[in-house]
């Protein structure tokens, strides 16, 4: 038995999310189906993060054990030759047996993109949330900063979640504003905002609920300092709305 660590990128637009579901198109099933034809038997892969429907990944990590002796570069070629274009395996590494992409992850980094301009750019529409109203990005930066550290993040957890503990530690929580020089940039008025957050773990919808709350701050509905009160309340109703999934990308997983 050999164990592999797969680094996977996907455009989540046309997936129901990472996790395999009975009928719909999931990233996990897309990869497992190809691996099954190589292994000649059912294969189960473990993803570091279960991204929701519409959420993207720049570098999701998955682990898998195979009986069949296949060199990792051959496996890499076989996967990308068969997978649809909206999922790509960026890297495959041979790792010690017992490696589990989910349980051994030390930290995850998410990025949430927002386009703040009058009109949405067509090239950005699958990967960024469009906010046409003017935003106070400095207030949003101050608010984001208040979330760093260990907190009970119940106020930012999806309703009806059932987890042992709602304490999580964020080591980075920052909003940056840029005008990137790439296929998604533009000559026209507008700013690309990026909320980047690093944590040992995240509650369900936590990043999207934080972003929805930061947008309330940016639009002047909340003062930045209120973030501290909202966290302390542990009340979902105190935080802002859930930002849409398509702005979110699982950026990196650290081991």
């Amino acid at each position: 038995v050999r164990t592999f660590k797969l680094t996977v990128a996907y455009d989540g637009t046309d997936f129901v999310g990472w996790q395999r579901q009975a009928r719909d198109r999931s990233v996990q099933a897309a990869i497992e189906d190809v691996l099954m034809t190589i292994e000649g038997a059912p294969v189960a892969i473990v993803g570091a993060g279960r991204t929701d429907a519409g959420v993207h990944a720049a570098a999701q990590v998955a682990s898998v054990s195979l009986q069949r002796a296949i060199p990792s570069d051959e496996l890499h070629r076989a996967l990308n030759a068969t997978l649809p274009g909206d999922v790509r395996v960026l890297q495959i590494e041979d790792v010690a047996s017992g490696f589990n992409a989910r349980f051994h992850a030390k930290a995850k980094v998410y990025r949430y993109w927002m386009w703040n301009g009058a009109a949405m750019l067509p090239a950005l529409r699958r990967f960024a949330w469009h906010i046409p109203q003017s935003l106070d990005s400095h207030a949003m930066q101050r608010a984001a900063d208040l979330l760093i550290g260990e907190h009970d993040f119940s106020a930012f957890q999806a309703a009806r979640s059932d987890v042992k503990t709602t304490k999580r530690t964020l080591t980075r929580s920052a909003l940056t504003e840029s005008r990137p020089d790439g296929p998604m940039s533009t000559a026209t008025a507008g700013a690309l905002l990026c909320y980047e957050v690093t944590g040992s773990g995240f509650l369900r919808h936590m990043v999207r609920n934080i972003v929805g709350t930061l947008i309330d701050v940016g639009r002047g509905r909340l003062a930045p300092e209120e973030l501290t009160r909202i966290v302390a309340s542990r009340d979902r109703a105190e935080a802002g709305p859930t930002a849409p999934p398509h702005g979110l990308t699982l950026w990196r997983v650290e081991y």
Copy 2:
């Protein structure tokens, strides 16, 4: 009669190009159809550049004259409220009657994106050409530089074109390499190459034929200096293959 200058962005993936065609989905028809409902009569718009099927625009410019008295900001809102998400009007300006987006254009800027990495990034796949082989980008830069100035570009013109003159002047022709910090960037190995070219006008497929030739240089099939000989030959057979449309974006039009 009032004349408007429209700045338009589109994701060309699902269009047959700018120009209206009998049946298929074109950008021109998408915009004209909305304008017709506002005008209450057929409307003809003129685009600065007739982009081919699959080619994108960050800032195409179109001109249109309307009889109906409608403020430009109201027209702007009406267009974006009705147009599909892969076309957006970024700006509308009132201009002097007689303004023609095509004939008054002084220069056009195109960008052609290439992703040079083992695996294509799903987020880039609609906007960049994937070149998995290693490329000598310095050789490509030297080759690109040799095209600046006034030349007969017949060697880079699509077969069976019929134009009065094949002389064109390029004021910029440069290849840059970057790793942009946006939704299309990545933590993984690879480089984003961008060929940017500015000219008073372009022959059919000229940019894509130049890029196909630059890639031949990057892969060592041609020496950079041979670009001068290829231009002088005025023979399409001497230049490289036509690069695919999806890497090309009409970046800006200057007046």
